[in-house]
Symmetry: C2
Subunit: 255 residues, 2 copies
């Protein structure tokens, strides 16, 4: 039997996880290519579009990946398997080897396709995509329900994390968060394209570096989302975060 | 026996906790007056300086506080008892009543004085003060050690959270975080006074609103701290966060 290999877009770190349950914790990232969604605001389309995946991905196995990780600085507890949608792949062997090497393994997926290997990771985060993504279809809603049932049948209670760009997204997210049980519930501010918003703090910033404008737009959106969530009795136990890597590094890739 | 009353500076919320283990979660705050420390960068000196505490504090009991909380919007799970140093007071009765009302109670203290009632809260965070505070004396180090021993004897493993303003603080924090066990370990970027730093993103921002400058200064400092922590094998499991309320609201008070 040949050793499995997967399409890997990038291996990087040490950095700090910017989102979800491990937000703020040092980690390495492995980003896999391929996705069944096309979210309008996707920040890693280079790991999604088939032409880009074909152009950018290397086909790597466990030994290749361990060797790449060994060459990185630092010694984080966590390793994040990201995408694209890593749940399109069969990563059980990799997860096992990373855990043998004493990593804690975190996976984030939109919850479109259940895989038994997901039950073996140290933290599973499901991030259903709201209306602003263009992916909030009835079919995807059914797939999410089936995914969460399968997870529960496998003894796993995932964390839920939903990106929110606007009031419609928030209302939608509230429906999800009040319908499903979850180990943790997170709302994450959608990071705009630089210059996309016309938010209070950035009105006079046309001549500033785009990274400064982006960080302030995220900060303004974060304030808005905090105010909405804090005042809403139905969202009492929901954690609200900005994308911390955007606060730190703007839209730079590979950090 | 008369009902106990305490010096209360402000009761506010709903807002989102900006720091520590509850970062990003909706909460109410009760801020008590009085502190045994005088940190150089204290952001709530109005709850510290005796003259200001005398001028600003109301003497309130359990019924007063419950009544004020009932008048607030929202329905957060968490209530944060803050200061000043709330561990200077005897708050056991209040904690009990808040828990009966189904709040989870979080307390943050610098770890200078143990109180048995601290064993009864839902999350205790100890925030030892680093050299930049002017409070990192040998006496305070001994007090911290005694505090943590008393906590452990009471069956409590607090979270540790240390504010970091510079490289010296980080080295000091590393000593604390590698010496003591803790339920969670956090590093939090010290928020500068607006205009205090001369950080990359703010060099050209003299004519921008001070809140924008402050948020970008915090973002630059956060990047620096993330880079330091991610690359340091001794800080593998330490969570790094900016003060999220500063990202959201700048230095506004009462949010």
């Amino acid at each position: 039997m040949t050793e499995p290999r997967w399409p890997v877009i990038e291996v990087f770190g040490p950095t700090v996880q910017g989102e979800g349950a491990e937000a703020g914790l040092p980690c390495y990232f492995i980003r896999f290519g391929g996705c069944d969604y096309r979210c309008k605001w996707c920040d890693s389309m280079y790991a999604v579009e088939p032409a880009e995946v074909r152009a950018n991905a290397q086909s790597l196995g466990v030994a290749d990946l361990i060797s790449l990780l060994t060459g990185l600085e630092g010694n984080p507890e966590w390793i994040v398997l990201s995408g694209g949608n890593p749940a399109l792949l069969e990563l059980g062997t990799l997860v096992h080897n990373l855990q043998v090497a004493e990593f804690k393994v975190a996976v984030e997926t939109q919850g479109s396709r259940w895989r038994p290997w997901l039950a073996g990771v140290d933290r599973l985060t499901v991030s259903p995509k709201p209306p602003s993504s263009g992916m909030a279809t009835a079919g995807h809603a059914l797939a999410l329900s089936r995914f969460l049932t399968a997870a529960n049948d496998a003894g796993v209670e995932p964390a839920l994390k939903i990106v929110v760009a606007d009031a419609e997204d928030l209302e939608w997210a509230k429906g999800i968060l009040t319908t499903y049980r979850a180990a943790e519930k997170h709302l994450s501010v959608c990071t705009p394209q630089p210059g996309e918003g016309h938010w209070e703090s950035t009105a006079a910033l046309e001549h500033q570096p785009p990274e400064s404008i982006l960080r302030l737009e995220v900060a303004d959106r974060y304030r808005w989302l905090c105010e909405q969530v804090a005042a809403d009795p139905d969202l009492a136990g929901v954690r609200v975060l900005p994308q911390l890597h955007v606060i730190a590094w703007g839209s730079a890739r590979g950090v």
